[in-house]
C-alpha cells in the first residue's frame, strides 16, 4: 500500500462515508504498480456513489485493464471533509487501487456527464497536484484527457484538458492510449505528442485550434496549422454485439445511486425529440441481440451477486425484441429472486404492460415524461405522444396496482404559451381523477393516489435542432413556476421544480465558447466545486465572473441565426447541420418527423455506413430503410 494512504488511513474515521476512499471492493483490479509501464487513472468529477453508478466509466476501466501493458485505476471527487483532510496532511488526491497521487499517473481521463461538474475537474487536478492549466503542465505531469456525453461542446474547458476523445470509447480509445504510450516511450516531448494525437480519429487537441470573435459574437474556430484536421468526427460503435462489454463489474460496499447489475440493451434513440442532445448525438440506434443480452446478464449476475438487473438504454422498451427479451429474462430469473427493472419508459400502454411484467415485486412509482402540456407544443418539439396516450398509460398503471405517478415537464420550450402551462395542470388533475376513480371502483386494496409533477427549465443544447434558440430568462421561468403552483394546488398532487438559476448556468456552460473557461476558473478559485450538490452551488459567483470578464450572457444563450458559426462547429457528432436546420424550421410549423426505423429516412446524415450493417434485431426495420 502506498505511503500516502498509511498517512491518512487512521483519520478516515473522522470523514463522512470513508468507504468512498478505500477501494478494495469485489472485482476491483489492482495491478502491480512498479512492473506496469503505463499508468492510467479514470476520474469522475463527482462523489464515489454518483461516479460508480456510471456505466461508461465501468466499461473504460475494464477495457483498459484488459491490456497487460496498462493499469487503470479510479478516482472520484472527495467530499469537502476529505478535501480538508488531504490538505491538512498535504496528501494529493489518490487513486482507489494503488493509492497513488494523481500526479504519478501517465494519463488521467475525466468523464464529462454534466456541465456543473467542470469546477470539480479543476479541483481534482489541483488536489492531485497537477497544474490546472494544460499550458503549465510539463514532462513530469500526466496527460489529461476528457470524454463523455457533454464532450460535444468541449470549448468551455479547453484550457484545462490536453486532449478530448469525441465519441464512444469502445471504438478507438484503446488505439489512442496505445499510441500515447508508444510516443511517450520514444521520449517525444509533450508538444510533439499532442501534435501526433491530434492526427488520430476522434481526438481533439484544443491548443492546436484558435477561436475568433467578432465583438461578443463567436465567429469561428480553425486549426493553427494546415496539417491539423479542421473537423473531428465522433467515434462510434457499429455493432453493439461485437463491442467490448465487461461483466465483472466492481461491487461497491456503500449504497450507490444505481446499485444493481446494468445491461445496456441498446444505444441511441431515433425518435428525434428536438430538445434531446443524447437522441441526436448517439444516433443511430444499435441493439444488442436477445442472446447477447442474456449472456451478459448471466455473467454479470454471477460475477457480482446482484439481485437486481436493470436494462439500460435511452429508451429500453424501444428495443425491437423487448417482449421476447423480457419473457425470457423473467422466466430465467424468476426462481432466483432477481428483479428486473426498466429505467426508462415511453408514454404508452405497451410500456406499462412491460413494466408490469417485470416489476411484479417492489412496485413503487412509475414515471412518464410528456415534456410539454399540449399536443400542439409536443408536436413542435417532436415528442410524438398525445394527451390520450398518457391517459391510457396511467389508466393501465393504476389498474395494475401502481398508485404513484410521476410526470416530467419542461418549462421555457420554444413557443410555449399560457395554454401549455394550463395543459400541464390539466394533465396532472386528469391523471389524479383517473387514479381516484380506479381506486373507488376496485375491490383490491389500493393506496391513496399520488401524482408528482416535476418541472425543469428547458436548456437549448448543442447538436439539437434548438441549438439556436434563446434560453428563457429566469424571470419568465419563475413566473411560469408561480403560475403552475397556483394551478396545481390540489390534494394528491405534488409539485416540484429545479432551480431556474442553476439551469441558466448549465445553459451557459452547455453553449459556452472558450471565454467561459475564465469564468469556470474564477468560480473554482472562489472555492466552488461539487456543484451538482445544492449545498455547494453559489450562482452569484458565476454571474460575478461573467461580469468581471465582460461576457454578455446573450452572446451565449441568446437567439442565434442558423447561418451563424457555433463554437462546436468543428465537431461532427453524426447528424448534419442541414438536418438540424430543417428540424428547426419544421418546429415552427409543428410538423413532426417520425422515427426513421419505422418510417422513411429523414436524412440526418448519421448513416454513413449502410444502415443494414448496423445491428438491429428486427430485419423488417432494415427493409424499411433501404
Amino acid at each position: 500500500m502506498a505511503e500516502v494512504f498509511s498517512q491518512i488511513d487512521d483519520y478516515l474515521i473522522e470523514v463522512d462515508s470513508p468507504e468512498r476512499y478505500i477501494g478494495q471492493e469485489w472485482n476491483q483490479i489492482v495491478k502491480d504498480w512498479d512492473s506496469t509501464d503505463f499508468k492510467i487513472c479514470v476520474g469522475f468529477p463527482d462523489t464515489y456513489e454518483i461516479g460508480m453508478s456510471h456505466l461508461g466509466l465501468k466499461i473504460i476501466y475494464h477495457m483498459l485493464n484488459e491490456e497487460n501493458e496498462f493499469l487503470c485505476e479510479r478516482v472520484f471527487a472527495p467530499w469537502t471533509d476529505m478535501e480538508d483532510l488531504l490538505k491538512e496532511k498535504d496528501i494529493g488526491l489518490f487513486s482507489l487501487e494503488n493509492k497513488r497521487e494523481l500526479m504519478d499517473f501517465d494519463l488521467l481521463g475525466f468523464t464529462l456527464q454534466y456541465e456543473m461538474s467542470y469546477t470539480t475537474i479543476l479541483n481534482m487536478l489541483d488536489l492531485g497536484k497537477i497544474p490546472v492549466y494544460s499550458s503549465e503542465r510539463g514532462k513530469e505531469d500526466p496527460f489529461v484527457m476528457a470524454g463523455g456525453s457533454t464532450v460535444f461542446n468541449p470549448e468551455p474547458i479547453t484550457p484545462f484538458i490536453d486532449f478530448f476523445y469525441i465519441g464512444e470509447a469502445e471504438e478507438n480509445l484503446l488505439n489512442v492510449v496505445k499510441s500515447l504510450k508508444k510516443w511517450q516511450e520514444q521520449n517525444l516531448n509533450r508538444d510533439d505528442i499532442l501534435f501526433k494525437l491530434a492526427q488520430l480519429s476522434g481526438v481533439y487537441v484544443p491548443s492546436l485550434y484558435e477561436t475568433q470573435f467578432d465583438g461578443q459574437e463567436f465567429s469561428g474556430i480553425r486549426p493553427l496549422k494546415d496539417s491539423i484536421k479542421p473537423e473531428i468526427k465522433r467515434q462510434r460503435v457499429n455493432n453493439l454485439n461485437n463491442a467490448y462489454c465487461p461483466t465483472d463489474y466492481i461491487v461497491p460496499y456503500m449504497e450507490i445511486v444505481h446499485n444493481r447489475a446494468v445491461i445496456e440493451v441498446s444505444r441511441g434513440c431515433q425518435r428525434g425529440c428536438r430538445f434531446c442532445a443524447a437522441g441526436m448525438t448517439y444516433r443511430p440506434t444499435r441493439e444488442r441481440s436477445v442472446e447477447k443480452i442474456i449472456e451478459l446478464a448471466d455473467k454479470t449476475l454471477a460475477s457480482t451477486g446482484y439481485d437486481e438487473l436493470a436494462l439500460a438504454s435511452l429508451s429500453t422498451v424501444d428495443h425491437t425484441k423487448i417482449k421476447e427479451l423480457l419473457d425470457q429474462l423473467t422466466e430465467r430469473y424468476n426462481s432466483s429472486n432477481i428483479s428486473i427493472s426498466l429505467p426508462s419508459l415511453r408514454v404508452d400502454e405497451f410500456s406499462v404492460e412491460m413494466a408490469k411484467n417485470v416489476q411484479e415485486i417492489r412496485r413503487s412509482g412509475l414515471t412518464f415524461a410528456p415534456e410539454a402540456g399540449t399536443d400542439k407544443l409536443r408536436e413542435r418539439i417532436n415528442k410524438g405522444i398525445k394527451e390520450e396516450d398518457l391517459y391510457k398509460s396511467v389508466k393501465a398503471a393504476f389498474s395494475y396496482g401502481w398508485h404513484r405517478i410521476k410526470l416530467y415537464f419542461m418549462l421555457g420550450l420554444p413557443g410555449e404559451t399560457e395554454e401549455d402551462l394550463l395543459g400541464i395542470a390539466n394533465m396532472a388533475k386528469n391523471v389524479l381523477d383517473i387514479g381516484q376513480e380506479i381506486r373507488r371502483n376496485t375491490d383490491r386494496r389500493m393506496k391513496k393516489v399520488e401524482v408528482q409533477v416535476n418541472v425543469t427549465t428547458f436548456i437549448p443544447k448543442p447538436f439539437t435542432p434548438f441549438q439556436w434558440v434563446k434560453m428563457a430568462s429566469m424571470e419568465e421561468i419563475r413566473d411560469k413556476i408561480n403560475f403552475l403552483q397556483k394551478n396545481l394546488r390540489k390534494k394528491g398532487i405534488n409539485f416540484d421544480w429545479n432551480d431556474p438559476e442553476v439551469s441558466r448556468l448549465e445553459g451557459l456552460v452547455a453553449r459556452g465558447d472558450r471565454r467561459m473557461s475564465e469564468v469556470i476558473y474564477h468560480v473554482w478559485q472562489q472555492g466552488s466545486r461539487l456543484e451538482g450538490w445544492n449545498e455547494h452551488i453559489y450562482p452569484e459567483r458565476w454571474f460575478e465572473a461573467l461580469d468581471k470578464y465582460n461576457i454578455e450572457i446573450e452572446s451565449i444563450i441568446g437567439e442565434k441565426s442558423p447561418d451563424q458559426p457555433l463554437p462546436w462547429d468543428h465537431l461532427i457528432a453524426g447528424v448534419n447541420k442541414e438536418f438540424l436546420k430543417e428540424e428547426y424550421r419544421k418546429s415552427f410549423l409543428s410538423e413532426e418527423t417520425p422515427d426513421c426505423r419505422w418510417n422513411y429516412c429523414s436524412d440526418c446524415g448519421v448513416c454513413y455506413k449502410p444502415y443494414s450493417e448496423l445491428c438491429l434485431e428486427s430485419n423488417q426495420v432494415i427493409d424499411n430503410v433501404n
Binding site: 487512521d10 474515521i13 478505500i22 454471477a302 451477486g305 446482484y306 417492489r362
Partner: protein, 233 residues
C-alpha cells in the same frame, strides 16, 4: 437448516458498516451459489443474521453469522466455497451445519461477552499494569450515557467488566458484557482509565480490536459453535 459460521473482518475493511458487511455477505453467498433461503414477501432477501454490529473503524476476529438454508451443506464446504467469493479482508474461519434450528437462540440474543484488545498509547502504555489493577479494584465505574430525546443517564459499568489483562506488544485485553443484558463500549473503558490517570490520552474506536464474541457458561466463556451451546436450547 442453518449454517452458523465464525468470521473475521480485517483491519483493511474496518470502515465498512454493519449493513454493508451484511450486504457483502449476501452478494458473496449469491456469487458462490450457496443454498441460502430467502425471506417471504415483496422484497425477498437472503435470511442472514449477524452477531452484534462491529463499530465502523474497528476490526474483529471472532464475529458470527447465521444463514438459513434450503438444503444441507457441510461446514467445511461452506467455508471453502464462500471464502473464494468474499473480498479480501472478510474471511470465514469456521462453520457448522445445524440440521434443526428449532429453539435455537439468535446470535445477538445468545452472545453476551465481548473481548476487546486495545493498542495502548502514551501514559496508558507506560502505566498499563498499575492502571489495570486499579481499575479492577474499583467497586463502581460511573459513565455518562447520552440517550435520544431523554436526559443523559449515569451508568455503572464495573459489574460488566469481567477481566482485564496486559498482553504482549503493549496490548491490553478486556472481557466485557455485550448485548441486551448490558453493554460496555470500548471508549467507555478509556474514559474510566482517564478518571484514574488524567494523562491517559484519548483512544478512539480505531485503537480497538474485537477479538471475539462469546457465550458465558458458569465461569467460562465459550464459542457459539460448541456442542454445549448448540444442544442447550
Amino acid at each position: 437448516m442453518l449454517i452458523r459460521a465464525k468470521f473475521a473482518r480485517d483491519y483493511n475493511l474496518r470502515y465498512i458498516s454493519h449493513l454493508e458487511i451484511m450486504d457483502t455477505f449476501r452478494k458473496g453467498i449469491r456469487r458462490a451459489g450457496l443454498p441460502g433461503a430467502y425471506s417471504q414477501g415483496f422484497n425477498p432477501t437472503l435470511n442472514l443474521s449477524l452477531s452484534q454490529p462491529l463499530p465502523v473503524g474497528m476490526a474483529g476476529g471472532g464475529e458470527y453469522l447465521d444463514l438459513e438454508l434450503t438444503r444441507p451443506i457441510n461446514g467445511e464446504g461452506f467455508k471453502a466455497r464462500l471464502n473464494s467469493f468474499l473480498p479480501e479482508g472478510l474471511k470465514i474461519l469456521d462453520a457448522r451445519y445445524i440440521p434443526d434450528q428449532t429453539g435455537l437462540k439468535s446470535l445477538q440474543a445468545l452472545l453476551n461477552r465481548a473481548e476487546y484488545h486495545i493498542s495502548a498509547r502514551g501514559k496508558l502504555k507506560e502505566k498499563r499494569e498499575v492502571l489495570i489493577e486499579k481499575l479492577m479494584a474499583k467497586n463502581k465505574i460511573i459513565v455518562i450515557r447520552k440517550r435520544r430525546n431523554k436526559p443523559d443517564r449515569e451508568y455503572d459499568i464495573r459489574p460488566l467488566i469481567f477481566e482485564a489483562k496486559v498482553l504482549k506488544d503493549n496490548k491490553i485485553s478486556f472481557i466485557v458484557s455485550t448485548g441486551s443484558s448490558g453493554n460496555v463500549r470500548p471508549e467507555e473503558i478509556v474514559k474510566a482509565l482517564q478518571t484514574l490517570e488524567p494523562e491517559v490520552p484519548d483512544h478512539s474506536v480505531i485503537d480497538f480490536y474485537r477479538s471475539g464474541l462469546f457465550v458465558e457458561k458458569g465461569d467460562k466463556i465459550i464459542s457459539p459453535l460448541t456442542d454445549q451451546v448448540l444442544e442447550e436450547r
